[in-house]
Symmetry: C2
DNA sequence: GTGCGCGTTGCATAAGGTGAAACACGCGGA
DNA sequence: TCCGCGTGTTTCACCTTATGCAACGCGCAC
């Protein structure tokens, strides 16, 4: 194997270098690869296309970064939860062709929702720029956060609310929050309205960004694992129309992603070892 | 990603096909790949060399089969124990250049030791053919088995002995076995002598194959994980010389493999997810 | 001995990988 | 608003280099 007389295949060799590099850094831009491997971008582009076609890497819509595909390998490391962005990405791309406004995929963290993916670069509009991957969204003041809180089970919801509750919470304010979440649950989708008094690092931002947003949870095996939203610029009187026109597509997309994630989460076989 | 204007890199594409195929089947010969992928063997050979050089696959000495390299992926699936053969293979190759006789790498199973790798194909001698991968070796009647039993901790040893004990075990025979193991432990290496009365599927085979064998355990982090032996044809009067000449090399190889395995078994980081 | 199967090597051919150069596009600054 | 830079994308002509036929070696079975 080591000392063969035959020559190696250069094209394969360099392509594998690219694959290894993408896997080493967890996300990488074309330019970074260009610098790291000293290969022309044109060449890299064709290699990346090839690797993508074979399912070894995928490209994030949010920023065009190339990410390694997590094979059946990384199962057990939190089931398929790590793949959500990869699985959701094509659905979000499809959604962008059906709906006029951009979406964001968010997953729950301790005290905020985190953006994993967005299709906003697919829209030309300046008003469509949604925060890059990694942006933290408020549980309280965003449709995305409320969609998750409304959908998760009571125990988790209580834990999150407890984390967010300010020391000087106004009397009755927590009941207001619960009422908002109850209404969200019954309605089937979340909005950033009505306003809630608890402070939050992003509260002011949300209040005055001149946008409106609706969100639904992505359910897999009965539990919410992420949320997907739709954001559009607030123009007087258009909100009801936008919501009415696109709600169904949003819900269908969320359901499709949930099913795809659930289908992936077949546990990998464990190789038994004797004792 | 999906609908690019650029062409894909064919050489890379086909090389990845080979990689995927090797990963799908866990072990595959050149000929099988040739049939499955319809590629000329010459081409496959160069691709396999390239994949090997990049550390994505490796070739087993025992039968020349190509096996996928188990990346940091499969950790948690029984730590590094699955890689032992891969790690040991180059050491066994090196050993074959220093010593005139072939070796076998064995790992413990419930009631036998199993051959994972052997360097015997590297020897020309007809007398050097050692069973292919998967062959089961007796715990009682082989040096390989005794080396493991002598090295493992008391609890495991008792469990194995209990499994092997015949219903009609002769009085005192179990004490004999323990004495053999005790002597093995103190001596530092195992032999297939002296004979022990307990029956075993391979007892007769071992008795009359006209060979002699010595074995030592491979220790990683204080516990035996495998054994490596040396087998040579029995010729009157040569045994002491062979053992004396090669014992040190065998022990050094075992130690080197053990250290390499221990170095690999750094646990992969677990991605934390919030609740 | 001999025939067959499989792995390996050599080599002529042209397929196709390559990278310079030009193009497209968005973003930030003036 | 316009310009310029940085990044991603496409094109294309050159010639490296991937390719697979053909021949060889070797061990194994009959």
């Amino acid at each position: 194997m080591l000392e063969r007389k035959v020559k190696t295949v250069r094209a394969l060799e360099r392509g594998l270098d690219v694959l290894v590099e993408v896997q080493a850094r967890r996300a990488v831009s074309l330019h970074e690869l260009h610098q790291a491997l000293k290969l022309p971008k044109a060449t890299l582009l064709r290699m990346l296309l090839t690797l993508g076609r074979k399912g070894l890497i995928w490209q994030r819509l949010a920023d065009g970064a190339y990410l390694p595909h997590l094979g059946p390998a990384a199962r057990g490391t939190g089931s398929a939860v790590e793949h959500i962005a990869e699985i959701a990405s094509p659905y979000m791309k499809a959604l962008s062709t059906k709906v006029a406004w951009p979406s964001v995929l968010g997953v729950p963290r301790l005290d905020h929702m985190e953006i994993l993916e967005t299709n906003s670069p697919l829209f030309r509009l300046d008003s469509a720029i949604l925060g890059p991957v990694g942006v933290k969204l408020s549980y309280i003041h965003t449709a995305t956060g409320r969609a998750y809180l409304a959908a998760c089970d009571e125990q988790e919801r209580e834990a999150i609310i407890a984390r967010l509750r300010p020391k000087d919470a106004a009397p009755g304010s927590e009941e207001d929050l619960r009422a908002i979440l109850k209404e969200t649950r019954e309605r089937g989708y979340a909005l950033r309205e009505p306003l809630h008094p608890w402070p939050d690092r992003s509260k002011q931002l949300v209040l005055r960004d001149g946008r409106r947003s609706m969100a639904v949870a992505i359910m897999a095996n009965g539990a919410p694992i992420a949320t997907i939203n739709l954001t559009w610029p607030a123009k007087r009187g258009t909100d009801e129309a936008v919501m009415h026109r696109h709600l169904e597509a949003l819900q269908q997309t969320a359901q499709a992603i949930g099913l795809a994630v659930a289908a992936q989460s077949v546990s990998a076989p464990i190789a038994g070892n004797a004792a």
